[in-house]
């Protein structure tokens, strides 16, 4: 048993509710752990002082007040039920407007009241739903950013998967995916991040950052993925992009071949 186990069990130990085996483990730990011994000492003192506090006793008038309230309730029940409030309201109006108004007016009032209540409820629900969505998005962002920082490439791939879902609504996730696409130690995580960015509404900023990273991308697979992203996100500017990339000095030969093969169609 470690210190955390002692902290979880010390209250049961003091109240005598800890099973014998666990009590023995706890005592064995106390023999070698001074901080836990000190904590037990403080709690034991508290336990003894709590035991000295007298139990609460009922006041003298409590019994009499209880039975009086019970009698009144029984008497009310014997006198019979009073008419409902809306019928009493109707009777108030009845002598002036006629008996039918005795039902119509309160019904109309009730209907109006219900309509207002339902409207307020759904407006409240709508804002509740919006708040819940914000909470969920915030949580998804936290999970994504946390996973993208993990040592394990598999966990970072999981972070990209999460990011794929929230990136369309969250600029910080987009930034994290760009960082993964341009600087992650794993080629496969970079490829997954570029693919995830393809699902986000393209902005010039994303394309520009990916293009700027081409000089640092040693993997031809990643270079090709960036080129395909640029073509996909800016279809009307392919000619300009191709010309610019062909002048880029650091692209792999296979990527240059691909660009050259795409050029005639543009």
């Amino acid at each position: 048993m470690n210190c955390e186990g002692v902290h979880q069990r010390v209250a049961d130990y003091l109240t005598g509710d800890l099973p014998a085996g666990e009590a023995l483990e706890l005592r064995s730990h106390l023999e070698i752990c001074e901080p836990c011994r000190s904590e037990l000492g403080d709690l034991s003192d508290l336990w003894l002082r709590l035991g000295l506090v007298p139990d609460e006793e009922p006041t003298e008038g409590l019994r009499e007040r209880f039975y009086a309230a019970l009698a009144e309730a029984e008497a009310t029940e014997r006198r019979g039920t009073r008419p409902a409030w809306w019928l009493r309201l109707g009777r108030l109006l009845g002598p002036v407007q006629g008996p039918r108004w005795a039902v119509a007016v309160p019904s109309l009032a009730l209907g109006l009241a219900l309509g207002v209540a339902v409207s307020l409820y759904w407006v409240g629900r709508g804002s509740e739903v919006a708040e819940m969505r914000q909470e969920v998005d915030s949580l998804s962002r936290l999970v994504t950013l946390s996973l993208l920082q993990q040592d394990s490439a598999s966990e970072r791939l999981k972070g990209v998967s999460f990011g794929r879902q929230t990136a369309p609504r969250d600029e910080r996730v987009v930034d994290a995916l760009i960082a993964a696409a341009t600087r992650d130690p794993s080629i496969n995580v970079r490829l997954a991040a570029i693919d995830a960015l393809a699902g986000v509404r393209p902005t010039p900023g994303v394309g520009a950052q990916l293009e700027a990273s081409l000089g640092d991308q040693s993997s031809p697979l990643v270079q090709l993925a960036v080129v395909e992203y640029l073509f996909r996100s800016q279809p009307t500017r392919q000619r300009e992009i191709t010309r610019r990339l062909l002048d880029e000095g650091s692209l792999d030969e296979a990527v240059l071949e691909y660009l050259a093969s795409e050029a005639p169609q543009i």
Binding site: C3, P35, D55, L157, S161, S186, P220, L221, A254
Partner: protein, 310 residues
Amino acid sequence: MSQPQTHSSSPSPVRRAMLWLAASALAGVLAAPGAAQTSTAERPAQRATTAQATANGRTFTVPFSDPSRPGTLEIHQTQGSIYVEAYDGRDVHFELRLQEENDDDDDGDNDDDRRGGLRRFNQPSFQTEVTEEDNVMELNSDSSWSRTVSVHARVPRRTHLQLECVHSCDLIVKGVTGDHELTNTHGSIEALEVGGTVVASTTHGEVKVVFASLEPGRPMAFSSFHGDVDVTFPPTLKAEVRIDPGNHGEVYTAFDIVPIERPTQMREERKGKGVRVVVEREARGTINGGGPEISFKTWHGTIYIRKKGI
């Protein structure tokens, strides 16, 4: 120390609740320093390692700080192959072998005259450094073009591997279970009868992985720019697969892959008189109902998704 006397046979709920509150408050205050003290107190002492020279290399053993949990072995080689295999032990046994020596006579002198009458002293000389901290072990050797050193390591059966080599090297793993990241540039990757997860990538070479077991729910990815991607899974695999065979490749599978229904990904561009429609290349589907994402990618090569036993 005997169990303390209770105040009564059934202490009041209020009293019990106040005790729990006090115990919880004290636990929160004591948790951080207590945990630090515990982890410090429980860390075992480092054991000394021994190194021995062999005919064309050297061997040595390095222990993990905490053999009770899987350690991580990182090897980064600019040149020289890496072989890692599992064994039933707790330490890592290294054997570094001089793979080849190239005559690197770039100083312009005619060394043949100077060597006349002398014989070569074949004791290999290369520096190796292994660091281990908190169960993460990292090996660096000064393997180079003129002195290529291959690394052979025997590791505990459950060990996480982060292995990377760049030039003229093969990367081979056998029988190790863990969270593996295998990266090569000019050479192949072969991971046989491994367990856990693998994320593998090479530029020029084949990626071949045979799984003995999988860790469920974990994404994986396999890629090669110029080479086949050949992965064998247990028949119980459940995954969502993304397959991109590039412009030149084909895909073969022993699993039934159910295509994921989605709108055909097309890119339509209207340029002047005509239109150009491009259908996206990547295929997506599910195996055995779906699961974590597994990606297969190559540009020049074939993708094989095999089922163990078939």
